[in-house]
């Protein structure tokens, strides 16, 4: 168990459960917990004990706070709109798959040979997309059998298998499945996140192909952009660390405009899962177009020349944009 296997982490786990570790140490422990079920179970137990300590501080809040909280909630997410469950998500993927399929169906033999983005040909790009789709589908047990052996047929059969699978069984979306990440690492996340990434990658590559064959880009609707931003933002703290740009204790506000608009607070370094600092006074606010931000995340825009407005610490803004540009899957 943790006691013998991971003495360093084990010694600090109680302090970690009380949020009493310095940020760098807390981040190291978080990282360890993500890959060690034994320590993670122990950590959950300690968290539960720590939370009991809150029982003796219960105090009625001022009565006016209730209305303030409920109206702030209403502004941030409309009541009556279901979320998270599969229809919206599966629908977003279905629409990007349909657009890609129409595009591929319209390509000439020469178009298939055109060099595109980081690939020698459109054909290679579609093979690459299919490999990432297949890794995701494989983790969910959604294996496809293509009737048409060409690259379009193979890719489309795989995408259809994913769509049928997640529509038939929404619990699949809670299962871990491969995320496409650069390099040889294998990263798994709930399939819900993976499906947003499949949607994102399918759109990005469709636009790569459109650019390669001289057609205009087709941006997705605002709801799809928002799904993509909501997927990317929680990955930013780790990306900041991976690029040597982590700034523990600092917070950026990301304000995106246009279709998919919204505001997000980004801790500038990894912290305990699901609990970023709710900074009321972020160190910097970065304002940009939501669609363009998604293209930056796809590494289709350069952070140095990315159109944005900064209020506050410009160096933090640069760090944020550079980290965002590393989240792309190819």
């Amino acid at each position: 168990m943790s006691e013998e296997g991971h003495p360093d982490v084990d010694r600090a786990l109680a302090a970690w459960a009380l949020h009493a570790c310095p940020p760098d140490e807390a981040a190291r422990i978080d990282e360890h917990l993500a890959s060690c079920p034994g320590c993670a179970a122990e950590a959950d137990r300690m968290r539960r004990t720590a939370a009991l300590l809150a029982a003796v501080t219960e105090t009625a809040p001022p009565p006016s706070l209730r209305a303030g909280v409920l109206s702030a909630a209403r502004r941030r997410r409309r009541p009556g709109v279901a979320m998270g469950l599969s229809p919206g998500l599966a629908d977003a993927y279905a629409r990007q798959v349909a657009r890609m399929d129409d595009l591929l169906a319209s390509l000439t033999t020469d178009d298939w040979r055109a060099p595109v983005a980081k690939y020698d040909s459109v054909r290679q790009l579609v093979d690459h997309l299919n490999r990432n789709d297949a890794a995701f589908a494989g983790d969910l047990g959604l294996v496809a059998r293509a009737h048409d052996p060409g690259p379009r047929g193979v890719w489309h059969a795989q995408a259809e298998a994913v769509l049928r699978g997640v529509s038939a069984d929404t619990t699949l979306l809670e299962r871990p499945a491969a995320l496409a990440v650069p390099g040889p690492r294998v990263v798994r996340a709930p399939a819900r996140t993976g499906l947003v990434q499949r949607t994102f990658e399918t759109w990005t590559h469709a636009d790569d192909i459109r650019a390669a064959v001289g057609r205009p880009a087709e941006p997705p609707p605002g709801e799809h952009l928002r799904l993509i931003v909501e997927m990317a933002v929680p990955m930013l703290p780790q990306a900041l660390r991976d690029t040597g740009r982590a700034r523990p204790g600092r917070t950026a506000r990301l304000r995106l405009t246009g279709p998919g608009e919204g505001e997000w607070l980004v801790p500038m370094a990894p912290g305990p899962a699901g609990a970023g600092p709710g900074a009321e006074r972020p160190d910097v606010t970065v304002t940009a177009d939501a669609e363009e931000f998604c293209r930056l995340v796809a590494n289709r825009r350069r952070p140095e020349t990315f159109a944005h407005v900064t209020e506050g610490d410009a160096a933090l803004a640069a760090d944020l944009l550079h980290a965002a540009a590393t989240l792309g899957c190819d």
Binding site: A20, T49, L53, T59, A275
Partner: protein, 192 residues
């Protein structure tokens, strides 16, 4: 006041509330607020010692749950635990941001451990009484580190400096304190 349910019904209630939040049911958020606002606000108020900050933390915690209900996973612990953990995290973040701007107040021995100093104290249930008994049963040095680390939001390094003890000692006292408390509460049937 929240009764300490047997795990079964509490888990079922938490799962139902989560599903209603995901479906966009605003009433569910209001119900959760009414159940847990004293927990969240009281903890934030205690840690930050600042009514305005406590209000901000409370808002962030409940609005965050409304925006991302699926980030609460009933399999890992109760909604109560999740909310208390998040409220504590946010309150501690506030304390650390503040302490960058001004020196932390010197450590003063506070009147009786665990007693809220504000007027509107919520009527205590079985859980609070049990936790209070558990805190009182701890040896002074162990109670002291919980007071500083949990209720004041200090890191174990700051706890060590404040008490003039080595960091390793601060860390191990925190660990012993939490372990003692866990076993005491478990004996009373109050673990969640």
């Amino acid at each position: 006041m929240v009764p300490v349910d047997s795990p079964g019904p509490a888990v079922a209630r938490d799962e139902e509330l989560r599903a209603r939040l995901a479906a966009g049911d605003e009433e569910a958020l209001a119900e959760i607020y009414d159940l847990f606002a004293p927990l969240v606000y009281g903890l934030a108020r205690r840690v930050t010692a600042d009514a305005e900050a406590a209000g901000d933390v409370t808002q962030e915690v409940f609005v965050g749950l409304w925006e991302r209900p699926l980030s609460f996973d009933p399999a890992k612990g109760s909604l109560r635990t999740w909310l208390a953990t998040l409220a504590h995290r946010r309150a501690v973040d506030w304390v650390r941001r503040e302490s960058r701007h001004r020196r932390p107040p010197p450590y003063l021995e506070r009147e009786g451990n665990g007693h809220p100093t504000v007027e509107e104290v919520v009527v205590e249930g079985e859980l609070a009484q049990g936790v209070r008994r558990g805190l009182h049963a701890l040896p002074g040095p162990l109670r002291e580190v919980l007071e500083l680390a949990y209720y004041r939001g200090l890191t174990y390094r700051e706890v060590a400096v404040t008490l003039g003890i080595p960091e390793g000692t601060a860390k191990s006292r925190i660990r012993s304190a939490l372990a003692r408390l866990a076993s005491d509460l478990e004996r009373e049937g109050l673990s969640t």
